[in-house]
């Protein structure tokens, strides 16, 4: 066979175009469904970032092993948010520039979610996040979906548990004077009134206090029989807990999530034994939580926390929504997420409301000699 000029040209043309034809065929048929994730790979929360990406990857691997969604495998693309607001805006804009990404995971830090919210609105694709500022789902931004219970629930749960389960009616409320602590203290105080409990002491403190003696003495003098607290930083919590015990105050204590976090347990040690805390992720709270805990431990050899449970749930819910929608169209995915009801996640049972809040309750856990033990789950309808 001789190679004619025509044959050569045809062959060349076929050779040059083939990759494109095959490529576009793959994009329409096989290929992957891409999900973008902003996570703190560097900066102060880098440690937490490892847990977050670990949780998300675990969910992606499980879905892909089970055959993926819509006949495609999921591909997770992670960008570093540097634990800062400018960092997450940059990370999100990088991800948003990729038109193949159908959904995103934002941050566990409310302030970062606030920072990226305008860009999310402009892009018009669903973003899952873990920040707990109640306002985030009231911004009128239809593309934000929350995978942790917001702070309005924690105050109600602390109040309800203390009054109904521990049967204590005279409260000392101690909170940081920052945005988180003030909002939390207010939510707790407001929840106590309708339950017939009184606030004997409503005490704010400034972050990074070196000494809590005046606070402890005020609690002692108030005659309160229970303490509810919102601490922002673990070192403040640790110093306070020690001084509280040293000065002989042993009333029951129900705290915001920081009271059961690993760092706080390490710093305060025995001073926190016997205390209660609200926790969005508690391993023994449900079958789904237990399964997640086991899978995470098998994969990474450490116990998971809420940093890893919400991204895990977010990927799973997003995948379920895409499957139910039968499409990667943003509007269809959004509608499918909002119809998710009774989905058993690691954090709890997801029932999305019209604002995009997936969870409506908290777990109460107890510190038993340093071990965090699940006590009960308190759920609200509204």
């Amino acid at each position: 066979m001789t190679l004619t000029r025509r044959g050569f040209t045809a062959g060349l043309a076929a050779g040059l175009t083939a990759p494109y034809i095959i490529g576009s065929a793959r994009a329409q048929g096989g290929g992957t469904i891409k999900i973008g994730m902003c996570a703190p790979i560097t900066g102060p929360a880098a440690e937490a970032g490892k847990y977050a990406t670990g949780g998300a990857k675990l969910a992606v691997e499980a879905i892909n092993k089970a055959g993926g969604i819509l006949g495609k495998q999921i591909e997770l693309i992670i960008e570093d948010d540097q634990t800062t607001n400018p960092g997450i805006v940059l990370a999100f804009s990088k991800l948003a520039a990729n038109p193949e990404i159908v959904g995103f995971l934002g941050s566990i830090r409310s302030t970062q979610v606030h920072a990226m919210a305008p860009d999310v609105m402009k892009l018009g694709k669903p973003v899952m996040f873990g920040g707990t500022d109640p306002n985030l789902t009231k911004l009128g931004n239809p593309w934000l979906f929350r995978f942790r219970p917001n702070d309005s629930y924690s105050g109600r749960v602390i109040a309800e548990y203390g009054v109904k389960n521990l049967d204590k009616k005279k409260w000392a409320v101690l909170h940081s004077t920052d945005a988180f602590g003030t909002a939390g203290g207010k939510a707790l105080t407001e929840a106590l009134g309708p339950l017939g409990a009184t606030v004997a002491l409503d005490q704010g403190y400034a972050n990074q206090s070196q000494d809590f003696t005046p606070v402890v003495l005020a609690i002692k003098q108030s005659g309160a029989d229970i303490l509810g607290s919102y601490f922002t930083f673990e070192n403040d919590l640790g110093i306070f807990a020690r001084q509280l015990r040293q000065l002989g105050v042993n009333i029951p204590w129900v705290g915001s999530p920081s009271i059961v976090n690993v760092t706080a347990l390490k710093l305060a040690g025995p001073a926190l034994y016997g205390t209660y805390g609200v926790a969005d992720y508690a391993e023994d709270s449900s079958e789904a939580s237990k399964a997640f805990g086991k899978a995470y431990r098998d994969a990474y050899k450490v116990a998971p926390d809420n940093q890893s449970s919400w991204p895990y749930d977010a990927i799973n819910v997003l995948a379920t929504a895409i499957k139910n929608a039968g499409s990667t169209d943003p509007q269809k995915i959004r509608e499918a997420i909002l119809t998710v009801k009774k989905y058993p996640g690691a954090e709890g049972e997801y029932n999305f409301d019209k604002n995009g809040d997936g969870l409506h309750g908290y777990n109460i856990v107890k510190n038993e000699k340093g071990n965090i033990v699940f006590d009960k789950h308190i759920e609200f309808d509204n």
Binding site: P44, A45, A46, E47, T177, Q203, G204, Y205, A206, Q208, S209, Q210, D211, T213, P214, V215, L217, A218, Q221, E234, N235, G238, I239, R242, Q246, L247, G248, T263, K266, L267, G269
Partner: protein, 291 residues
């Protein structure tokens, strides 16, 4: 009354911590005429050195203590050579900016090496404290108070009764005159930096079992210690001690009887009052002479 005694003890304890850090400020100020804004970071770095030795490497507590302080002596020397010495012929401003830069470097260096999680450092004593009548005395605070008293005595002896102390004083009063008398000014300044770094480190090691070891532990204490030095009279050793103790007591009582959230406010309110009505501080004639 019980309440007052308890508050007084805590106030003196926390005040002694401010006093220790303030002492480092004063010594460097006297020797070089600049404020060392990295003084708080000396405390933080020493505490991390101690965590590495006593907790991570499980060395005996006393040995870790010595290693940490020796480490601070080295850091003090490096600090002098790297931050102060190259700028010593310039005005005070570039030096102050350089100390701020060094403090940022130290804080972020430790952050990069050790991560952001606060660490626990056990105290010197097995017993956390003793109950003396109605007052609970935290053993670590007791230690801090004792060390502060010992240091006041030591400083008096060192500066008034040893040759090197007198040379240091001469250098701080008039560098040209001192060098004409055959005192090596740069050696004396080196000694001052080493001593200040060790003092700052000592404060950090003593306070770490109470406040935990964290990146920001130094800066929060240093800010109060700085206020204490101004109240006491910048450049005066006794003033730094009295200023520190006064500040600790004022803020503790202010928090208990007026407002907890404004606790830090009382410290700085007192600072402002002093700056307006007695800018030279309680003991500070020397400032006017130096300004």
């Amino acid at each position: 009354m019980d309440l007052v005694l308890q508050l007084l003890f805590t106030g003196i304890g926390i005040g002694a911590v401010y006093a220790l850090v303030a002492l480092g400020f004063v010594l460097i100020f006297r020797a070089t005429n600049v404020v060392n804004f990295a003084q708080g970071e000396f405390s933080m770095v020493a505490a991390y050195l101690m965590v590495v030795c006593a907790v991570d490497l499980e060395l005996p507590y006393w040995l870790s203590f010595i290693i940490a302080l020796a480490g601070m002596a080295v850091i003090g020397a490096i600090f002098n050579l790297g931050v102060y010495y190259p700028l010593r012929h310039r005005t005070y401003l570039p030096v102050i900016i350089a100390t701020i830069g060094a403090s940022i470097l130290m804080a972020n260096g430790v952050l990069a090496l050790y991560g952001p999680q606060p660490q626990v450092l056990p105290g010197w004593f097995e017993t956390p404290g003793i109950q003396l009548g109605p007052v609970y005395l935290d053993s670590q605070y007791l230690l801090i108070i004792v060390v502060t008293i010992a240091l006041v005595i030591f400083n008096y002896w060192f500066f008034e009764h040893t040759m090197i102390g007198k040379k240091l004083q001469a250098t701080s009063q008039d560098k040209e005159m001192a060098s004409l008398l055959g005192i090596s000014v740069s050696t004396m300044i080196m000694v001052t930096f080493i001593y200040s770094a060790v003092l700052g480190g000592l404060a950090g090691l003593l306070v770490a079992p109470i406040l935990f070891v964290s990146i920001q532990m130094g800066s929060t204490i240093a800010l109060k210690a700085f206020a204490a030095t101004i109240i006491g009279g910048f450049g005066d050793v006794t003033g730094a001690i009295i200023g520190g103790l006064a500040l600790g007591i004022i803020e503790t009582f202010g928090a208990a009887y007026i407002s907890v959230p404004y606790k830090d406010g009382f410290a700085f309110l007192v600072l402002v009052l002093f700056l307006v009505f007695r800018p030279q501080g309680i003991f500070g004639e020397r400032v006017a002479e130096k300004a």
